[in-house]
Structure formats: structure tokens, C-alpha cells
Symmetry: C2
Subunit: 362 residues, 2 copies
């Protein structure tokens, strides 16, 4: 499919303008744009500007509040619950992660559960906020139900990602950012567009049987938890996705399980929702709350070097550490620009026209 | 293979006597026996009394200190590092988890990384200690390298389990306890004993190629991270196992990666070990540090009920919540006794003879 290349600055500026047009403050628009674009930079194309129109539609449907009063509603020295007041998750999440970081400064660690939020972009952005403070960062979110627990024919969980970002000394840091499913929904969408089959273990059909049909979700099928089937440990992926759901939804007072609101504004909201909006969970741990930061970093560098220099299997170039491909992509796209599929670029142009701002097709 | 049935009390009493015979205090022996037997009760037969002789051999090889001075070596209001002084992990881990619980009482959460320990039995026991305090419990440990990262032909990680235990109201609690590999080593050992093949995705051979040979580990092969291969998300299982290794080893000052000491006493210790013993990591979060416990439990009951009553796929009886099979097993074995394979029972009898105590074959 044809692509067009845009500079990071061009897309950042445009995205910021879009958020200002729907009523976000200058500061919120800047934050939201930076968070959204971090997905494009890191190569997670499904979670970046391709979703910008989707965010605007949520605002049009009055499911997103452009002027939220984001605030702490409960706290202890090491914990807080933040109410996002239906704001953009792109803005609510960095606020909440900052609360976690501030608490970690005071008592060693900080843990924040969030209610009343919306989609927050990539978990990686928020977890990585901890790195510059010599802290380990953790970020999770629940999401609308696309995933069937092991043995279930019903979809009860989202793709519920987990980010763990760990600082280092001279080596590049460790940044894991993973959906708790075999394959993220974005990868499935690529196969759908190309009309290709999935590998076995990614999806099941409406009866819960294994299938390779990439379109199975549209006819009652479901994504599968990491592991794919019971024999390959899907009960573990299910347990991890469930943990994310409970930390984000049940601990905060947000919705959880089958009641998490959908991203597409045309999908009706679930009935009898038990909580407020979507939930997130953030953690920050000062490494020097455990041992001197210099010692930690020296050992972390040793860990990273050992793994990065491991002997690869034949046919593979090298062993990667989580976050390596995304960091390399970010360097490349910052320098050479971000490619957008033509339909995405056209979608942004239409959005610009609707909002009365400009988006030049390059 | 023939089995013999023993009562829980019989095995508990015997195990306690074994630990006393090698020099543990009355209190440590009682704790160690209770932790070890919790594996047999919950059906994790690979981690229970079948390993008792292995623990004694570690003591004989002077790798386990029967009279450890377990202590906090660094702390903040929400964190601590505990030095296990080469004690049994079965004793060090409950000590460290109690520190996490005490810190959570004070500041909402507690997080403890442990150095200088040994194998701690099942992670589930330690995580579940939090439940009676209306806390969420987290327990992890690193272990000697049996697992190859994605694209690696070298074994650099252990099976590195994660336990997350979450309290509820009227419903049974959520207790996930999972190795970050496709299959736990115990399951592989069962296939080895029966000379059966593994499914694809469990192990690779010495060249890093997929194999179904259950004996592949003995000839340079490796267990695979949850996911099995790149296409099925093994980089996610690798990332989770790596996170466990870093939280347990690098954060505490224990060994990590390929340097984690082995469980079998006949296996030589790694060269140039960067830390002390094996590492663990524990967390405790008071649910009322986030929202009133009664509200949390009401919503958690709703979550658990919804998942337990989900529509199962054809041919499956019901959808399970993590911990359900183990809890049912515990109830059954407490009532009807614990079956031991004949070689395990005979091994315990020989151990008894060597230590000058009795173990009646039933």
C-alpha cells in the first residue's frame, strides 16, 4: 500500500492543533500530541495518528471531556487513585504517572490506579517517564473486551498491555511493552487489510474453535491470550490480562472485564457499567530505594550486555533486549520521517478540513 | 506409575523433622515444612516433598545455611532489601513477604527484594500471605538458567514465576501463579519419565531449532518463554521472565541471568558470580490504600462471578479463574491425602534412614 512520509514535527504540530480545536488547553494539547506521536515514532503505527480521528469522534460523542478536572480522589503515602474526569487518556495518564513518581521520591515507590479515563496511547510512553528519575516505571491499562479467557467462548478482556521500563547506566534501558495476547490487535488489522490468514493461536471463532481467519472477530470470534491454547500456556496470558484488568479497573473504580467502554464511538456503550470510564495502573520504584543507584546501574549494564551479546540461533542476527527495536525505529523516524499509509493521510486531511485547520498532503 | 497416599499431617511432621535434623530452629523447620507442603497440597508436585532430598543435598554441599541471620540491609518507608544469609528460601521468603506486609500497613504498599536466598517452593504460598490482610500479594523468584530468550541459542533465564494473589469478598480469591515459560519444568519432567514427546513450542534443541524431544535440555537445548516462538509472542514471555530476573536479582544484589546458582547440588556453581545466592521479589498492596475495602470486594466478587459464569467453549465444563484448580486440589488432598510416586516415597525413606529418623512407607 502506498505511503507518504511526514516529519515528526509536522505531525506533532498538526495533532496539537487538532486537540486545541476540540477545546483542549494549550498544555493538554501539547501533552496529548507528544504521547500520541510517541507511538508513531516507536513503530506502533496502530496506536498513533492513525487513531486521531477516533479520539475526535469520541469527543463528538461526548465520551471524552476536553476540559477535564483531573484529580487525586484518595491517597496514602505510596498510593493514589486519580479520577480522569473522562479526559483524554493521553493527558490523564502522564498526570497519574507523575503522581506515582512524586510519591516514589518521598517514600521509595508510588502506585496509582486511575478511573474515568480513556485510551492512553502506548503504555511505553508512560512507563518510560520514570527512567530519567532513575526509577523503574510500570504502566498498564485495561481496554474493551476483544479477548476470550481460556475455555471461554465469550470475550471478557481487552488486550491489556503491560509496560516495564528499567533504567541502566551506559547501556540503553530495558523497555518491555506488551499486550497480554498472542498478537496485538494492530497486527491482526494488518492481516485483515491484506486479506491474509493468521497463524494458529492468534484467534478463535464464535464457537471457541481455533481458526486462521483474520476476520473472525467480526463474526463473534475473539483474540487469544498469550500462549494461544491451554497446551501452550494460554491460561498464563489470561491470568496476566486479568491481573491488568483488576489493577486498572477494580482497584480504581473504573469499569472492568466486559464492561470497559469501546474505542470506536459508533459502538454502543455496555449496559449496567459498574464503574467510571477506562482504568489504568502506574508504578514508580526508585532504584536507590533498594541499593545505591550506581551499583544497580553497573549490574544492569552487565545484565544488558550479557543478553545483547548472547549467541543467536542460526539465521538470526542478534538477541534483542525488550525495547531495542522500538528505540532503533524512533531514531530512524526522528531523522527520516514517519511513513503514513495513504488512507491514514487522507483521513487526517479530511479531519483537518472538518476542523478548519490545514494538513498538507506531502 | 504406582503411588502411595500420605496424610498432609504425616508429610508435614516428617518434613519438619528433616529440617530440624539438618540444624534448623524449631520455628524455621515448621515454616519451611509448611511452605514446602503447600506445593503438594496445591498439586504442584514438582515443588513439594519430591524436592526435600534436594534441599538436604544443598545443605550437605554447604550451599544452604541452616541457621541464617536473615535481616533487612536497606530500607525506605515502602521498600526493603533483605539478605537471606544463604538460608532456605522456604524460610527467607515468608520473612521478606512479612516485611512487605508490614510496610503496606504503614504506607499503603511494601516492596521487598531479596539477595542471598535459595529456592522458595511455590510463589503462590508467599503471595497468598497477603490475602488475610486484605492486601494484594505479589511474589517472584529468579532461578537457574534453563530458558533461551527469543532468538538465543544460549540459556540465560530461569522459569522465573510470578504470583499475584487478589482478595475478594464472598467469592474465592484470584491466585495466579505461573512460570514465564510455555510449560513449567515439572511438566517436562513428567514427559521425560514417560518417554513422551512435548508439543511444539515447549523446547528448542542445542541449535535453537524447534523440537518435540522432551530430553532436549540434557543435550544443550532449552525451555522456551511463554509464547513459544516469535510469531506466537515468545518475546513477551522472554520480557516477563527478564523483568522477574531483574526485580529479583539486579535490584537486590543477588545473582541474575546465567549466574543464578543451580538447585541440584551436583551441578557446579557458575563462574564469576556477580551477586549473592538467588533473588526474590515481593509486593503487598492494601486494597484500602486505593478505595474502601468493602467497595473493592464487592466489585471483585462481581468480576469473579462474571468470569466463573462465562459461557464455556464446547467440550469444556467451565471457565476457571486463576487459582481455582489449585484450591480444589488443596481441599481434596487435605481430606483424602497426598499421593506420592513410589520413587519419591522410597527416596524419602532413604533420606529418613540417613538422618536417623523414621518415614513409614504407607
Amino acid at each position: 500500500m502506498a505511503e507518504r512520509i511526514y516529519s515528526y514535527q509536522h505531525l506533532l504540530h498538526f495533532t496539537q492543533n487538532v486537540f486545541k480545536q476540540i477545546g483542549c488547553s494549550e498544555e493538554h494539547a501539547a501533552t496529548a500530541a507528544k504521547v500520541l506521536l510517541s507511538a508513531d515514532l516507536r513503530g506502533v503505527d496502530s496506536h498513533g495518528v492513525a487513531r486521531l480521528t477516533g479520539y475526535v469522534r469520541l469527543w463528538e460523542a461526548k465520551r471524552v471531556n476536553a476540559k477535564p478536572d483531573i484529580r487525586i480522589v484518595h491517597e496514602t503515602p505510596s498510593t493514589a487513585v486519580v479520577d480522569g474526569d473522562s479526559g483524554l487518556g493521553l493527558v490523564v495518564a502522564p498526570y497519574a504517572m507523575q503522581v506515582a513518581i512524586d510519591k516514589a521520591k518521598n517514600v521509595g515507590t508510588g502506585w496509582v490506579s486511575v478511573e474515568g479515563s480513556n485510551h492512553f496511547g502506548i503504555a511505553g510512553y508512560h512507563g518510560m517517564m520514570a527512567l530519567e528519575h532513575d526509577m523503574i516505571g510500570i504502566a498498564m491499562t485495561n481496554a474493551s473486551p476483544l479477548v476470550a479467557p481460556t475455555f471461554s467462548s465469550e470475550k471478557l478482556l481487552g488486550t491489556n498491555p503491560i509496560c516495564v521500563a528499567i533504567p541502566a547506566g551506559k547501556e540503553f534501558p530495558f523497555v518491555a511493552d506488551l499486550a497480554t495476547t498472542t498478537a496485538a490487535n494492530g497486527k491482526l488489522e494488518i492481516l485483515q487489510r491484506k486479506n491474509l490468514d493468521t497463524p494458529l493461536g492468534w484467534v478463535q471463532d464464535a464457537n471457541g474453535q481455533p481458526t486462521t481467519n483474520a476476520h473472525a472477530l467480526k463474526s463473534g470470534g475473539a483474540l487469544l491470550p498469550l500462549g494461544g491454547d491451554r497446551e501452550h500456556g494460554s491460561h498464563k496470558g489470561y491470568a496476566l490480562g486479568a491481573m491488568v484488568d483488576i489493577f486498572c479497573g477494580v482497584l480504581s473504580g473504573a469499569n472492568y472485564g466486559p464492561w470497559v467502554p469501546p474505542f470506536p464511538a459508533y459502538v454502543p456503550m455496555p449496559q449496567s457499567m459498574p464503574g467510571k470510564g477506562i482504568g489504568h495502573f502506574f508504578g514508580a520504584m526508585r532504584v536507590d530505594a533498594f541499593r545505591p543507584a550506581s551499583e544497580f546501574k553497573e549490574n544492569m549494564d552487565n545484565w544488558l550486555h550479557r543478553f545483547r551479546s548472547a549467541k543467536p540461533i542460526e539465521g538470526e542476527e542478534k538477541v534483542l533486549v525488550p525495547g531495542d527495536p522500538e528505540r532503533e525505529m524512533e531514531q530512524s523516524r526522528m531523522e527520516h520521517g514517519i511513513p503514513l499509509l495513504e488512507p491514514v493521510a487522507e483521513d487526517l486531511q479530511q479531519l483537518a478540513a472538518k476542523l478548519g485547520i490545514s494538513f498538507e498532503l506531502q
